[in-house]
């Protein structure tokens, strides 16, 4: 008995002690990771310290590969996959995406499905609720089901299997460091998660809604002034499709604008910035130095770490494409194959409308529609919240879509991506990756519905083309710009522009096709549309491509990196003319001498930017005063309209300041704003003498979780929103690509990041400094692994 007690007591003591020690050291406290499991060097974060020389054994024999495959990683760790069977390519693309970007894929899918609070706690609950309310998760679910009917479903299934092969063989010590930091496990991938990533792209590229702001501003200013300050068409505009194109299609019918006018105190949270500035262009052989067509593309998206793009070459017997892919989505989104090159910029059409709901009674469960009573359908959504009880939210569905705002007057949201359940985006990319000529490119776009893109094309055969592709809702002239009356069914969209009628141009006389998010067409296009379009880059690009001849690759690189800002070239002389006879200073001399280039080490752009902002603040004082008085979201006129007013109506009533007895003109505002900006500049330069543009306008590439330690701040780079090198604080050229359609094809590219999503990898941010300097890497579009032998960092051979 004594022996038993002597044996049992220490064992129990040991177990108790182990539990006592294990619990605190392995449990997270608040936002901190569990100290023991995070710090221990055997499975914690130290395991993510990748070797600087790539290598190690990767055994993929159990993956289910049909035929032998070789993967060669080049000097930037770009994988070149050489397979025989296409389905093997799918498996390996899934595997490689997961290997290098698993956490990015997980968090992107979680964001769209409204599941961030599960990981980050209650502070992201509101964001999750907004995502579910917008319908992203539900639409992703429908998309995933409907993709079964799209071509290439088997490829998608294999892609998912490739991701899951990686996850299933992942030990805890191999988890990406973010999983360890936020203390959760990766979930198996699914087709629905791929659909979530697609919806995340939709949110970024076509999720903007300014109906609320426009309605409030029209209420504040009155219809006449609103139309004066917010005209739909900039007369200087140079559209994507040149005016020579004849629109033989018939236009849509006009309807009376039935917008509801009234203040709404809520604010839309727009995830997409107003102008996501991307450029693409293709020039015909006759305009180039070497006599080959050249295609260029630089999509300007949110600059993040890990980067939004993953570079890859995939080759099988029937498939050989190189370019950038989106982790979570199979195929290559922007790239080239042995015959053609393609790329995209965002269209920017308004595909999101708000409808005011007229409730039958205070219960708010039924609403009026054309005199009938309609019941909402109720959907209860559960939100898991880290360290808190789950939260339930009821979403009311109307014929327009979910009720988005419920307090006071209720607004329902109709958003295009929720309506196009036949959006076979992956099948479209698959066909594009395989296309060999113009007709195959054209047909490959047919299944692509959203987010609408300007698909550019060039082929070895010498064709160039650009098609504005996506489901473009047919709306009457002003519909969709303001909040609509949700009690009238006549306010619904009248279908979509037929595929054959979406704006398109093929081998134009001018010898090039180009887009920079500007208006797709001129005013003769028969379908009315509204959107968020660029007003300067497109003009600048078209004008320069018109001028250019004997174009070299160096010219194309210089054009993509151009920091010239047309808006500054138009606005600054007007401002200077207003003040030149009143004020003379070295401050102004700098601006007079300036070439309107936003170079990183230039000082004049800082002075101009301060002056422009101060001037804008003064002009639109009526709107900003209304915004603060009513606490309602407002819309501000675009810069091109300000320039037009200065050019044509310098005594426009809106130049008069509301708070003064004097009647101010543009000249008064120019002087007042100059004085203010000089004072601001003086105070800024007290702390930072020689304040240059790169310091003033800091460019940051943030980690997706916004952890500063995993982000890169203060990048030494020029550019500005309205320059072709359109770099704003956290947005900019996310991939620069130049493809010469010679034989063999030659291509150059770079993106601001690295192939690895692991902050502990030498390939996490290795391309950023070269990208900031405007440099490019030659892309190794190699026909076989042997052709890569001089650039090989690592090779994986997989036997079937």
């Amino acid at each position: 008995m004594i022996h038993l007690r002597r044996l049992l007591m220490p064992i129990l003591f040991c177990i108790g002690y182990t539990l006592l020690l294990y619990y605190p050291i392995n449990t997270s406290s608040g936002s901190l990771p569990p100290i023991g499991s995070f710090f221990n060097p055997f499975s914690g974060f130290w395991q993510n310290a990748e070797k600087t020389t790539p290598g190690g054994r990767i055994n993929l024999s159990g993956m289910g590969i049909i035929d032998p495959v070789v993967i060669v990683f080049d000097e930037r760790m770009v994988p070149h996959v050489y397979a025989t069977d296409d389905l093997d390519l799918a498996l390996l693309q899934g595997y490689l995406h997961a290997k290098d970007r698993l956490w990015q894929m997980d968090i992107t899918a979680r964001q769209a499905s409204g599941r961030l609070a599960e990981i980050f706690g209650g502070r992201l609950l509101e964001n999750d609720q907004r995502m579910r309310r917008m319908g992203l998760a539900k639409t992703a679910e429908n998309l995933a089901k409907n993709w079964a009917a799209c071509d290439d479903y088997k490829y998608l299934e294999n892609y998912v299997a490739g991701v899951n092969y990686y996850i299933n063989n992942l030990s805890k010590k191999e988890f990406p460091v973010e999983f360890k930091l936020f203390n959760y496990h990766p979930e198996l991938w699914s087709i629905e998660k791929t659909a979530h990533v697609v919806m995340s792209m939709n949110l970024m590229l076509c999720g903007r809604n300014e109906d609320l702001a426009a309605t409030n501003t029209r209420h504040l200013l009155g219809m006449k002034d609103f139309d004066d300050l917010f005209p739909k068409w900039n007369p200087k505009q140079s559209p994507i499709i040149p005016s020579e194109v004849d629109w033989s299609d018939s236009g849509n019918q006009k309807r009376k604008d039935q917008s509801v006018i009234g203040f709404r105190p809520e604010r839309m949270i727009n995830d997409a910035p107003r102008h996501i500035g991307s450029n693409n262009w293709a020039v015909q052989a006759g305009k180039t130095e070497d006599g080959f067509p050249i295609l260029c593309n630089d999509p300007h998206l949110s600059l993040t770490l890990p980067s939004i793009w993953y570079e890859i070459q995939m080759k099988s017997e029937e498939y050989n494409a190189y370019g950038v892919s989106l982790p979570g989505i199979p195929h290559i989104a922007i790239g080239f194959n042995e015959y053609i090159a393609w790329g995209e910029t965002n269209v920017g059409m308004d595909v999101s409308d708000l409808y005011e709901i007229e409730w039958v009674d205070s219960a708010r469960n039924s609403y009026h529609l054309d005199g009938k009573v309609m019941n909402v359908s109720l959907e209860v959504e559960e939100f898991k919240v880290k360290n808190a009880a789950p939260v339930l939210d009821t979403i009311k569905q109307t014929i327009w879509g979910p009720v988005f705002f419920e307090e006071g007057r209720s607004l329902a949201l109709q958003w295009l991506p929720n309506l196009v359940s036949d959006n076979c985006i992956i099948a479209s990319f698959e066909s594009l990756n395989r296309a060999t000529n113009f007709l195959e490119y054209y047909e490959s776009l047919r299944p692509f519905k959203s987010p609408a893109q300007n698909f550019i094309f060039a082929s070895k055969e010498g064709d160039i083309a650009l098609k504005v592709q996506g489901a473009l809702p047919i709306k009457p002239a002003k519909e969709g710009r303001f909040i609509l009356d949700g009690s009238k069914k006549g306010n619904e969209w009248s279908g979509y522009v037929p595929f054959e009628s979406t704006p398109f141009v093929h081998n134009p006389v001018r010898g090039f096709v180009a887009s920079a998010n500007q208006h797709p067409t001129d005013t003769t296009y028969p379908y009315a549309y509204h959107g968020y379009f660029d007003d300067f880059r497109g003009r600048s690009l078209n004008e320069r491509l018109h001028r250019m001849d004997k174009i070299s690759i160096a010219d194309m690189k210089a054009l993509q990196n151009s920091t010239f800002d047309l808006s500054a070239a138009e606005l600054l002389p007007l401002l200077l003319d207003l003040v030149v006879d009143t004020m003379d200073s070295s401050w102004l001399t700098d601006l007079k001498m300036w070439n309107h280039e936003f170079e990183g080490d230039a000082i004049a752009p800082v002075k101009f930017s301060l002056w422009e902002n101060a001037f804008n603040d003064l002009i639109w004082d009526e709107i900003s005063a209304g915004e603060s008085t009513a606490d309602a979201e407002m819309l501000y006129p675009e810069l091109w309209r300000t320039i037009e007013m200065l050019e044509k109506t310098p005594d426009h009533p809106y130049f008069d300041l509301t708070g003064t007895s004097k009647v101010e003109t543009a000249k008064d505002l120019a002087l007042l704003s100059l004085d203010k900006s000089m004072h601001i500049y003086d105070s800024l330069t007290q702390d930072t003498p020689n304040l240059d543009w790169k310091t003033f306008r800091s460019v940051n590439i943030n980690h997706l979780s916004r952890i500063p330690a995993f982000s890169i701040a203060g990048i030494d780079v020029g550019g500005t929103a309205n320059a072709l090198n359109s770099i704003k604080g956290t947005h900019g050229p996310s991939w620069r690509m130049i493809v010469q359609l010679s034989d063999p094809i030659k291509a150059w590219g770079i993106y601001p990041g690295g192939q690895s999503g692991n902050p502990g990898s030498p390939y996490y941010q290795n391309m950023i400094s070269d990208w900031a300097r405007g440099e490019y890497y030659e892309l190794h579009f190699a026909a076989s692994p042997d052709a890569l032998k001089d650039f090989t960092s690592m090779t994986i051979t997989i036997k079937s």
Binding site: L21, S37, F39, P41, F42, F45, A49, F710, P762
Partner: protein, 124 residues
Amino acid sequence: MKKLLIVLFWLVLTYLVAIYVHWFLSFLTPLIFIPWLKLDLLRSLLLGFLVIFIVWFSAAVILNLRNTGVLAEMISGLVNVSSPLLLLATGFIGGFGGALTSWLAYVMSTPYKLVDSSRNDVID
């Protein structure tokens, strides 16, 4: 000499257990070695701390060297310490666990003496 060999054996075993079984079990190895070494409380605590500190610290140093400090710099920024301090902190967390277990191991080995001495049958 014998004790030094035991400590070396302890170090190796701790490495192997942490790598091939579970990192937490590296904390429990003092339960074997402290009673074996028969040290006083202070020496038990110090040795328990030192052995696990060395194992954790050296493992982190090796990983850090082959990574040329890339990750350490990132995590240092996250926790607001320098990279060398991060390495030391890693060793200290391990050492702390080792010291606690060594204390337990020492305490557990003491009741044997108490029980046995009450029966005038001291077993050392």
